[in-house]
């Protein structure tokens, strides 16, 4: 990448918006996982009291948004949200009724970072006093849309990931005691030629490498600067690929590098193969575990880099490879 291209690749947020509120909600399997006690709510009913999985997905997203806004004490200036369902219906129906302008996004599993980064820019630029960034996913609605009817009982490949049932929301505000959004490195589309929809980690790792490399180069920060570098849902295999890509440059991502998809399940016990995925994976893990930890003083500098695979079942059936993207958002205890 040229110096010039990198020069516009990372935004230094001069007003560094504050995280004013956050919330997470997950399903039963995620509640049974290692982070189960870190989420604000565990919904044991796969339908969340609704009559379809899609409506359950919208309902859980809405609960996360409402709780985060309540904690922030604001009606958000705008809401930025998206999801995996066709026509992003999960977020449209989830946000319906919220009395705020709405920007619908599609970034697949990168949506939490895309929404958080854009929300930060809108508040940083002075266009909105506050903004809510949110996304979610649901195992059952995703499985039948992207793969097979659940009743079919299809065998999963070793590299498959398990779509998280969950949602997260982060509300940003122009003023507040932090943590703050200090840097944003938006992603370019990176297509490494992977065609296997059952191996998202391999498809997305090169996008994470591209964005994190750009972030480190332009900010002058190395991996050691951050207490936590957190990819969205590369899973076990994708996480290793990312480590390898950096190792080839002589860069050790170190023990502070983690992946939401690996953290969210006890992979062996919970039969999650390569780990969790879905928009709700990084959204709930960021909101439930890491922002809570930052608030409690466990970490001061977190680089949140959610990754997304931008194919569709149709493009895969037409023989296309998988374009991927990764947006990286630096969240820090102090403005800098």
């Amino acid at each position: 990448m040229s110096e010039k291209a990198q020069a516009v690749r990372t935004v230094f947020l001069k007003n560094a918006p504050a995280v004013a509120g956050f919330a997470s909600i997950v399903g039963k399997k995620e509640g049974d996982g290692p982070l189960g006690k870190r989420f604000d709510a565990v919904e044991p009913d796969a339908r969340a009291g609704q009559d379809s999985w899609e409506k359950a997905e919208s309902t859980m997203l809405r609960r996360a948004i409402d709780l985060a806004c309540e904690r922030a004490g604001v009606t958000p200036g705008c809401v930025l949200a998206g999801d995996l369902l066709n026509q992003c219906a999960g977020s449209a129906y989830g946000v319906r009724g919220v009395d705020a302008p709405f920007f619908g996004l599609y970034g697949a599993c990168s949506t939490m970072a895309e929404s958080l980064g854009l929300a930060a820019l809108l508040v940083d630029g002075g266009h909105f006093e506050s903004a809510a960034a949110a996304t979610g996913s649901h195992f059952c609605s995703a499985e039948r849309q992207f793969r097979f009817p659940l009743e079919y009982g299809g065998v999963r490949t070793p590299t498959a990931q398990w779509t998280v049932t969950g949602a997260g929301c982060v509300v940003l505000s122009a003023e507040g005691k932090g943590p703050y959004i200090t840097r944003f490195t938006p992603g370019k589309i990176v297509d490494a030629g992977i065609k296997d929809m059952g191996n998202m980690g391999a498809a997305m790792a090169p996008a994470a490498y591209d964005t994190l490399s750009a972030h480190f180069a332009l900010t002058g920060r190395g991996p050691e600067y951050y207490d936590v570098i957190l990819t969205g849902d590369l899973g076990r295999l994708g996480q290793e690929i990312l480590r390898d890509l950096f190792a080839a440059d002589g860069v050790d991502l170190g023990a502070n590098y983690m992946d939401c998809g690996v953290l969210v399940y006890d992979i062996g016990r919970q039969d999650a193969h390569c780990g969790g995925s879905g928009c709700g994976c990084s959204a709930s893990v960021l909101s439930g575990h890491f922002l809570r930890g930052m608030r409690d003083g466990l970490w001061r500098r977190v680089l949140f880099a959610a990754t997304g695979a931008l194919m569709s079942p149709t493009t895969s059936l037409q023989g296309e490879s998988i374009p991927a993207i990764c947006h990286a958002v630096a969240i820090e205890a102090e403005r800098c």
Copy 2:
């Protein structure tokens, strides 16, 4: 709507980004319509040289982006784009290979206004020197995804609209001779309870009314301020509903109010029922006809208000009503 809520509903862009380049491309039917000679290119092949309609859609979007960027003389600081295909694959594959950060959006047929408005905020806030806003649609890919296989030859209802095959792109820049983006009124989700997927105009008109009312109230401008008020694709029926909603407030939208969906086809001769629709409708009509007209001095003040219906086939099958949204962008010959 409360005064307080309206107070944050319209953004006054203090740096008013300039329209630095724009481009449009359409299919054969649109090329045969009343605006046929206004578009930059007419693609006679429904597959645009590709082996699927979806790839044709991506290809046409990319041609619009490339031409607009070439005219603007920039590699855009970022690209904001979306489309109607599941997982927004039309834009992901269309933008793949463009060397710029990408923000995927989903606003259904409101996408041209959503992308243009957000692009304006990102440039206005100083975060990017330039930004490209783009979207497109394709009759054949949309028809089979949302309705029936083309081969089925289903009879269309009188209120049905015809998805435009076309794309448009607008490149904004911090500096330039204009026209300029001066105001942006983002939309809230408005659900009027309409459940008929064949009557989008009725579903979307109340959203247009909500956003345009907010725009007029907060800016202190009435409909007469603008040379053109342009809704996205309400079609013939939706356009009449919008006029009626304003008439009930004693406001006459006047002869300067037009709708892209009505303008794009010779409705009777071209069997377009209520008119055109699809992301590509307002994108191509804005870029092909109106921005070209502004450049040539025909109009000085255009309020572009694209509308979107945010349902999916799944939510409609589940008995849900149609949430709609409208974003309004003021484009003016002079900064103000």
